[in-house]
Every structure is written in C-alpha cells, then in structure tokens.
Symmetry: C2
Subunit: 700 residues, 2 copies
C-alpha cells in the first residue's frame, strides 16, 4: 500500500518533469537534501529550530526564512522559526553591535551550547545565514564551528548595462530582467530571486541601468518603478543606484545647459536628488559615464571631470549616497589609447569631493582577455578608486565559451603597483588600506539576463559567484571559489569535481591562447566584438581597428610602449614598469602589450616569436578538446540537461577556437612569411573563407 | 508512518517550491490530475495502454509519447506504450490513408471496442492525439466519443519578427527564443516545448526570422543553424520557413544586382534554394517584405512584385515550397495610405505563379485595434491570399493590457467582401473555397519571447491558442476558444470560469473604447506605438503622424474616405461599401474610418459625436475596473502567482487607460471646444503634463 501510494505520487509528479530538470534557475542556492545521513543528523541536532527576537525588521525575517528554507531542504525535515532565546540544539539569529565586525561582518559561534549567528546589523546576520548554509551545503561538520568574516570593500556592486527597452548592452543571456514597462505594479518574482543570489555572495548594491544612460530614470514616472524594485531588493541588503545621463537637466529639466558650474543646473540636480531620496530613502547614489564614447559630460562646457563629479556630490549633500565617476575615457587621435585615461584623470587626483569615487576598469584598454593592470591604480592616492571588472563576456566569447573569470579578477587584484613600495597591490588600493580611504568599491558588469539559467552559459554563474565572494574578501583563492561553486551548483561527487576544477581554473588561460596569446589584444570582430578580425584596418576611429593594436609588419608584431614607442610604460611606478620593460625578461603573457618583437626573435620559451605564437594558437585550440574530455569525465555525476547544455557549448567553443586559430595564423603569416612549425597542421581553409565567415556575423 | 513519510516527502519537495508555482511555462498543456475520480476511472478504462505499429516514424513516436505524458498526468496512473494491435480498453494510433480526412485530418472513434486515432499521415494522428487530450483535459467523457476534424487552411504559420541579435521587433515578452549564437550545437529545450505548443493547436509551420530580414540566414553558416531548429520541430509537424532579404544576391552573393529578370540573379536564387533543400529537405519556403518601409525589392529595378515573387517561385522549382509575398506596402505621398496596397497589388492579380501566395494584413493600415477588412480580400480572385494577423500587441498595449484577440480575428474572417454576392466572407477567400484555390494560408505574427510564460501577459497565451485553433478551423467560435483556453490553462472551477470569460470576450472592445473609439485609428505614440499621441503632427512621413488619420478640426473629426474625400470606400464591392457609405447608418465602430463628422452631429446612439466620443473614453476606462473586479471574483480558484501577475497587469492597464482617456479627451477638446457631458468628471491633469509623460517613454 505504501509503495503503491509512493508510485502514484511519483507518477503525478512525473509529467511535470520539466520543472524538475536542473534548468539552472536556482544557481548555487540548491537546497537539495544532503546525501550523507550522518552529516544530516549532526546538523539536525544543532538546528531544531531557528530563534529570533520579537519585532525584528524585514531583513532578519528574510534571513530566518532563507535559513529555514535551506535547512529544511538540506536536512530533510521541518525547522520551525520562533521568537525565543537560543539554547542547546537551537540556532539563534541575533543583532548586537560589535565594533570588531563592523556594519556588515558576521560571527557564527556556539553560545551557551547553541549555535548563534550575530552581527551589528540585520544585514550582517543575513550574510551570516548564507555563510552557514554554505557550510552545510558544502558538507562541513557543525562540531566546533567558529567563523567570522567581514567585507574588505564597502561598496560591492553589480553594474547592469540594461536599457529601458529591455535590451542589455553587451548582454548574452536574453533580455533585461527589469521589466520597466510593467513596473511599478508588476513585480516579477525573479527580482526577489536575484536579490537572494546577490546577498548570498555578499554583494550589497545594484546599478540598475546602462552607463550609456537614459534620462528616463530621473523622472517621477520612472522613479516610482525604481522604488518598486528597491522595495524588493531592500530586505536582502541590496541598495539601488542609477547611472545618470549628464545632459539630463537639458533633456528632461528644460534647462538650456548642463554646465556643472551653473547654479540652475546645480539646483536642478539638488532637487532631483532630494526627490529620489524621498522616494527611495536608502538610494545608493550615481554612476556616471561622461565625455566618453560620445556621451555628454562637463567637458562640453570646458569643465573637468572633477567639476562634474563634485557637483553631483554636493547634490547628494547629507544623503547617504556616493558618486562613482568612470575613468573609461579616450579621446580620438591623441596618441596611444593606453595612456589616455591616465592623462585625463591622474592630474585630477586630490580635486574630488569626499563622496566621489573614480571607477577604473581593470586594464587600460577595454576588458580584454588579459590586460596589464590599469596604470591609474596607485597613481591617484588621494582618490578612492572603484575597480570595475566585466562579468559579461563581451570580449571573451559571449555565452558560448566557458571562461571562469576568477583568475582574471585575482590577477588584477594581486598585481603590484609598487606605488608605495613592493606589496602595493591593486587590492590594497581598491580596499582603501594602502591609501587610508574610508570609502572603497568594486563593480562587476553583470552577465545576467532573462535566460532561465540567468547567465546563458552555465559557467557564467561561476563568474557572478566568484565576483561576489571576491568583492567581499579579495584574499580568497580563485581555485577555492571554483571548488565552492562547483560543489554547490554542479556536483559534490569527488571524481567529477576533480575533473571539472582544472577545466574551470585553466579556462581563461586557454581562451587567451586561442584568441590573443603573448599579449595580443583588441583584434576581434568590429562592433560585435565576436570572432577574430585582426585584419580590421578601417573604422570610425583608428583605435577601433585591430591593426592599431597589433602593429604587424614584415619585421614583427606588437605595440612598442617603451620609451622608443608610446612610452605608456612610463605611466607605471618603476617597480612595476621593470617587470615589463625588457623584452628579454618580460613575461610572455605581456610581451606584445609592450614590445614590437621580430618574427624570428627567440623568446624565453626557447621558440621564436612566430613559432611560439602559432604553437599557442594551436595548443589553445587543442585545449578545448581537453576541456571537453574533462566534462565527459564528470558526466555520470551531472544532471543530464546541464551536462548536455555545457557539452554542446564546448562544441561551439571548439569550432570557434579553430576559427580564431585559423584566422590569426593565416593573417599574421602574411607578414611573417614563415612556415608553421613542422608539428602543426596548416589550416585547411584559406583566409578569404574565414573573412567571409566573420562578415556574416556582422550583417544586419 | 505513512503520513509521516508523506510529510517528509513534501518537506523535501517544499524548498523547490519555485518550480511548483504556476509560472505559465506549460501554457495550456497542463496535464495535472483530473479532480473527478469518476471521470478518471472512465478514461482509465479506455486507456490501459497506447498501441502503435512497429517501425513507425518519429512523429508517431512523438504522438504516442505526448499522449502517454498527458494521460499519465491527467489520469494519475501509468500508461504503457506498446507495439501491438488495439482492442477493448486500449488506445490505438494508426496511420491509414483516408481521402475524407485529407493529409492532416484525424478521426477519433471506437473500433472493435477500443478507441482509435487515425489519419492519413503521422502528423494527422499527432493532431488527433492533442485533440483527445483536449477532450480529457476539459472534462469530456469517453463514452460514445466520435470526433473528426481536418484543417480548412493548408499553411497555418507563426511569423516570428525575430532578429539575429536576439531582439524581437515589436516583441514584448523578452528576447527571441532562437539562440542563433549557440546554434547549431546547443538545442535549447524550449525549442521542443514550442513545437509541442504549436502542434497542439494545429499550426504546421514557422517563419523563423523577421520580415525585415537579414541575409545571414541564406549563408551555409546559418543554414546549419536553421537545419538544427528544423530538426527539433519536424517530429511535431512544424516546417520551417525563412524571410528573405531581397538584396541577398548583392549582400552575400557578390552580384552587382538583385534584378529578378537578370539570369545571374535567378541562377543565384536557384542555387541557394537547392542548397537549402539539401540541408532541410522539408523546408517550407520564403516570406518576402519587398519595397516596403525601406526594404529593397524588385521595384528597385523597375520590376513588379509579380516579377519578384515569380522568380522566387521558379527558384523553388520542383521543391515542395511556397512564396508568401507581403502586400504591406505604402508609398509616401501618394494619397490615402488606405488605398495604396490595393492600388499596387490588385492590378497584378492573375500574374503570380502557382507557388505564390500574397500575404495581406487583416486591415488596410497596420494592425490597429479595429480596422475594416483589407479591400484586397475578394479583389484578387486569381491569387491565393494569406491572412496576416498580429498576435504581438504592437498597437494593443504591449504585454500590459489584457486583450483577447479572438473577437478581432473572427471579425475579420466573418467580414463579408460581397465580391461574389453576399456570404463572400474573408474566411472563404482565405481558405480558398470562394475562388477555388488549392493553396491557402494564414499567418499570425508571434507574441512569443524568452519570458518564462512565453507571452509576457498571461492572456497573450490565449491569443496564440485562439489563433492556432482558428487557423485550423475558422468556424470555431471565439467565445468557445476562450472557454477552452481558460479551462485548460487557468481553472475549471465554474464560478471562476464564469467570471473570466466575459473579461476575455469583452477585453478587445474595451481596449478600443479607451484608445480609439468610433473608428479612430493610428493616434498612438510615435515609433514606440505605445501610449496616446493624437497631437503628433511631424514625422519623417505624413502618414506616420496622428493628425493624418484623425483630421480633427474646428468642425469635426474623422477621415472622409467617401467620394468627397479619398474615396477609399470605392475599393470595396458595392455590397460591402454600402455598410459604411452613409454616415447616418455606418456602424459607430467604423464611423471615423470613413467620415469626417461634425462635433455636434447626433449619432445613431442618440448622443452627439463629442458626447459619444468622450463617453466611450470614460466608459472604456471604467470597464478596466470591471475587468479587475471580474478577476478578483476568480481569485479563489487561481494559482496565487498567476492571480497576482494578472492583477498587477490590470492595475497598469487601468492607469494607462486613464492616460489614453485624459490625453484624447483633452486634446480633441481643443478642437471641439465643448464641455464634457455633465456625468463625466474632467481629467484632473492638464494636457501638457500628459504630453511630458508620453515624451518620457520616447527618450533614449
């Protein structure tokens, strides 16, 4: 009878199978029952109930609910929530000011025989709850658990490049998750799940809209919509921020100017800002892309970036908000683009108001697969700098290439600026410890869209995850985060994890190899930024072409940025510069970033430039095969739908790796006029065929 | 013990609750267990197993699998599929040529005591399986079941206006479901669910890409992708079609011309077409938007639409494919836009090749909330005409207004062209019976996107559903389809159904009232086609403004299309013309389509034009309140998430109905210079405020 009932139950469930397949929507928050009965028992013994004080606020209620949801799933039995003190076998959530933990840090420990999660604020306890769930989910034991953590960076934000019409600039995972047309009345359940995901990894804010900003968001009509989103995000500790259009006073304010020194412009922004805070009391502040790529800005009125940023800071006044002013600027025709943001911003150091942070991309060009760290890091000691990294894979294969970005982000964070002696890492600039700033920030350009699994490529989830965790604590190891994510999201089966981890950890290096080895950069398909187009020589601006960057000629390859060339190297502190200055000792990964190297020049690897270059294109491509094999090894432990999805994407990736390899090898060969090393099989197709293929992807 | 086990089971299921809420993904294919035990037993007794012949093809296997899935869910017990003959208590699927049923018709009947679904082809049996499931799902009894049906129209297609970059022109439900970047390797599971949905309502084909077409799709690179989609759709009886860019021979063929009379152009299309059929043997054919809204076409070479269409027909040669050539053309500055498609296409009647169908929108302007039927219907007796209707609500409130389109589609189908005497309905023109055509077609511009529930607004699903069912059998009643859809998708609880049905059935009339009553048309926000903008008087073309259409002046309102005006009325047969010719007898719904009427003119309703106009704007807006109340009545029987979603959208709809009402009443009052009828409360806001609001939605 019992068995028959079960059978019927399963049958009734059966037809809804679609809802049960692992479609990726739950991200890493998979509260499936732990397979180890013993481990479940151990945790059950410590979590007979969740105890909170009476009359707590919405964030602590959210924390208790999330914990309940997670523990019930992981441990397979009910966990009531009650307003009662803690005690042996019960789990208590408690807000108590603790200077050692700051505003957002949490502590998990035993108090009077019972587990307790404490923090100075409700949000801190929420972070602690997710930390505890992570312990359970990754199979840690409860005995002797003692854990405390607090974020090293204060503003930990996702930047959405989402447009009001629902498209996402450089988005590859469907449309925007924000449904502006339907807001404020319709609250997509997805908003809440998004907030949960961000909170679970320690993020605390969201810039909702594209830096190429619409003025719509500053109107009352849209502020009501923004407020509705903010209302859903608030209990999860996520504040909302807006990108602003510099010309807004003209476009929607009816003024004739946007000059930051004009009193009427200042008054307009002040009034707008007050209005925003009336609607959204915990509004986070403004992100600004000004005088960059055609966007308006204070320079339209012969004012500086500092004039603009400081005016907005004054508009914020006593409100608890900040201005993040982007340093991503480059003027056409003013020499090496590598130098331009530095030249424009470094002289402004010391001129920015207290609430202003300058937001700097990880590298000097634009989110290439590998860049040297941006020379502004360490060079503006009197200005807090936000590190901006890109999670959406604009230049890294969209949603069809598996590229785990942990290593890229860490590479930048750990780079040593040498500005205050050895050990002056980018991380210490960004977290404020090097230059004693109280404000600090980090921003990830979101890779999130309406796709069911949020990120298109399932591995994209790992990038969202690793970014959040590193934003919280940049000392975490990229490999450890890959392991955490894999075990929470994909499988805890040891052999499968062992197969997947090297795939993730090496994926970025492999991508670099088959697209831009040895320090090549910006040789991708124009506008689209997809596929290879090293032959691109005509564009609206010279620094939008490929030849501008690779400078291939009969002699050799690479951009001379030493004193004999653009001398961009001089922008770095001597200690940092030293690493790259000598072509003989420059690490091969950065060689062509800084040197024009002869085709026949022997490198430190023992091969000539040409042989090394082509060998890397081939070995990078072959490595995608290796990634496929690793994924196959994990197959028995994976959800079939997820397995098939990634396996198919790896097939695309291999096809496109060959595309890159053949394109670049054949194109550069026209300059090098050398045969491939004998171990490599020449491409089977002519370059003309590849050029046609690239053109197809750029058709209307 | 049993109860405890159940409790635990439910707990384990609990945390995945998100997957259980009714998120709309399953559409009307909800195979939840029938609540009536008796009814389940009756059906169980007839469906102990599903029997098919050995060695059947993929479509019959698909049919058996779908039937199994559905019956197991609805009846709550396993239904094995076996290769065996039928028999009492078993359900047999059988392919047997049957001239009475045609190629796609099915019959469900008892044979030798057992239920049997038969048809001439596997696809026919598949349609029969969905028909049987519909019987079960809507609570019909099996006793004495005897049912047969065949489609009245041969080509029943969805047209996707989806672009290669993933955007959807006039799409309001997220991004395109086609992931071109990931194809052909990655096959989103959604493709299959899409095909199921189409097959379940009797559609048999899909134009994958926007009529503003990219040439990409004709390249080998993209044909591989198209073939991959076709492979998923094929077992569900769905053929794929492509929209083609007329200039493709130049853009991707390297030719200097696209002149259809040039032998090299003809040869290019022939070779391309042969290549397509090599890749996709059951390819359906081409859809063409030529010399329309800036698209290239044969007129660029002084050739006619017939020259162009016939050239493509010749390229198709012996392949089983068709050309659908769109009649949606209007030249700037050549008189009343209402007349232009007629003037260009009617003279070509008789000149089109056998494989060509001309595709005509339901009305002469462009998918307005109500239009008179297109004058081309009945006026091209020697040419099969495809009826094109728009399911995506470009002019009908996007995804925030509940507008059930069954009445709109039926209104057009039942319109009488009088071309061969009374009863010469558009339906009979379209299904080919009036003019004895063997080819016939109907196309719905899809309202489908990546949103979880496919259509953004849940009611949008009803439009997809009703279109498919009407495409199969245009004699079905709109109200019956609304009932079918509601009971399959939302609830079978009688009181709730009784509350929802009038909401659906009256929704389109209500939308007309608060946006474009009495035959007003094309007065919406420019470019965006959202919100009111009757004051729009400047645009790139006069017929893109609003004043072109409403012609408000001090005397009155409306477009005189009688002999004293543009005389567009003359394009209709006398019998049809008669209905609209006299302003005194013209039905109020069409009045301003054809007449310029004085503000003080008394109408058949007993009110003056001004009073009737304003009364309709107000009563239409009030009716949205009534829709909200109806929805509340149904609440107890609805899934909470679905209830909340629609309730919120109705709040948006009411807010925007007020927006339309206030905008139009205040604007037209500037001409009428009359007070509102005393029962109506004047808008609380000035027109200037509304104009600002409209501007906001048109900002970058």
């Amino acid at each position: 009878m019992l068995l028959r009932l079960l059978f019927l139950l399963l049958l009734v469930i059966g037809p809804q199978a679609g809802a049960w397949a692992d479609d990726g929507y739950r991200l890493w928050l998979k509260y499936d029952q732990l397979p180890e009965a013993g481990l479940r028992k151990e945790w059950q013994a410590q979590t007979n109930s969740i105890r909170i004080d009476q009359n707590v606020g919405p964030t602590l209620q959210t924390a208790a609910h999330e914990l309940q949801l997670g523990l019930q799933g992981l441990l397979g039995r009910p966990v009531p929530v009650g307003a009662a003190p803690g005690g042996k076998g019960h789990l208590r959530l408690r807000v108590a000011p603790d200077a050692a933990l700051g505003q957002e840090g949490y502590r998990i420990s035993y108090q009077n025989g019972g587990l307790e999660i404490t923090g100075s604020t409700e949000t801190a306890v929420l972070y602690g709850c997710f930390a505890l769930l992570r312990q359970v989910q990754t199979g840690q034991r409860p005995a002797g658990l003692r854990l405390s953590s607090q974020p090293r960076i204060r503003y930990r934000l996702l930047n959405h490049w989402d447009n009001p019409n629902g498209t996402v600039e450089r988005g590859y995972a469907g449309s925007s998750i924000w449904k502006w047309q339907e807001l404020p009345e319709v609250l997509d359940p997805r908003y809440q799940d998004y907030a949960r995901a961000n909170a679970s990894i320690g993020l605390n804010g969201v810039v909702l809209n594209n830096v190429n900003a619409s003025a719509r968001y500053l109107t009352p009509e849209y502020l009501r919509k923004v407020a509705a989103v903010a209302g859903v995000l608030r209990p999860y500790g996520q504040r909302v921020y807006l990108s602003v259009l510099w010309a807004a006073p003209k476009v929607i304010g009816g003024l004739k100017t946007s000059d930051p020194l004009e009193p009427q412009v200042q008054a307009w922004w002040k009034a707008r800002t007050d209005e925003i805070y009336k609607t959204i009391p915990d509004f986070g502040g403004f992100l600004v892309k000004a005088n960059s790529e055609g966007e308006p800005g204070p320079q339209d009125y012969s004012r500086t970036h500092a004039d603009g940023a400081n005016m907005l800071a004054r508009a914020l006044g006593q409100h608890d908000g900040i201005v993040m002013w982007r340093a991503f600027v480059y003027k056409a025709g003013s020499g090496d683009r590598f130098r331009q943001a530095y030249e424009e911003f470094q002289p402004l150091d010391g001129q920015f108001a207290d609430k202003v942070l300058v937001q700097v991309k990880n590298g000097p060009i634009d989110f290439q697969a590998r860049e040297p760290f941006h020379p502004l890091f360490g060079a503006m000691p009197r200005t807090p700098l936000v590190l901006e990294v890109q999670l959406t894979q604009e230049y890294l294969g969209f949603a069809t290439h598996a590229v785990y970005l942990g290593p890229l982000i860490k590479e930048c964070l750990e780079a040593d600026t040498h500005r205050q002696g050895p050990g002056s890492t980018v991380a210490k600039v960004v977290d404020g410890t090097l230059e004693k700033h109280s404000l600090s920030g980090i921003a990830g350009v979101a890779n999130i869209g309406s796709d069911r699994n949020w990120t298109g490529h399932p591995v994209g989830q790992a990038n969202w995850y690793a970014f959040g965790r590193l934003a919280w604590d940049h000392t975490l190891r990229s490999e450890d985060l890959a392991r955490e994510w894999t075990r929470m999201t994909l499988t805890r089966e040891p052999a499968a994890v062992a197969a997947i981890l090297p795939l993730l950890n090496q994926s970025r290096a492999i991508y670099v190899r088959y697209t831009t080895p040895l320090g090549l950069h910006h040789i991708m398909g124009q506008s689209l930024h997809y596929g290879p187009e090293p032959w691109l020589s005509q564009s609206a601006r010279p620094d939008w072409t490929s030849v501008y960057y690779h400078k291939a000629d009969a002699q050799g390859l690479g951009f001379d940025r030493t004193a004999t060339g653009s001398d961009a190297l001089a922008l770095y502190a001597p200690g940092a510069r030293h690493l790259w200055a000598n072509p003989a000792t420059c690490p091969p990964d950065y060689l062509l970033w800084f040197h024009h190297v002869g085709w026949g020049q022997p490198l430190s690897t023992g091969r000539t430039l040409w042989d090394e270059l082509t060998t890397r294109y081939y070995s990078g491509t072959d490595s995608v095969r290796w990634m496929q094999q690793q994924w196959e090894l994990a197959k028995p432990a994976l959800d079939p739908q997820l397995y098939a999805d990634v396996a198919a994407r790896l097939r695309v990736q291999h096809r496109e790796a060959q595309w890159w390899r053949d394109a670049c090898v054949l194109y550069f060969q026209e300059f090098a006029r050398r045969p491939l090393p004998p171990t490599l099989t020449p491409p089977a197709r002519p370059l003309a065929e590849i050029k046609e293929l690239v053109d197809i992807y750029q058709l209307r």
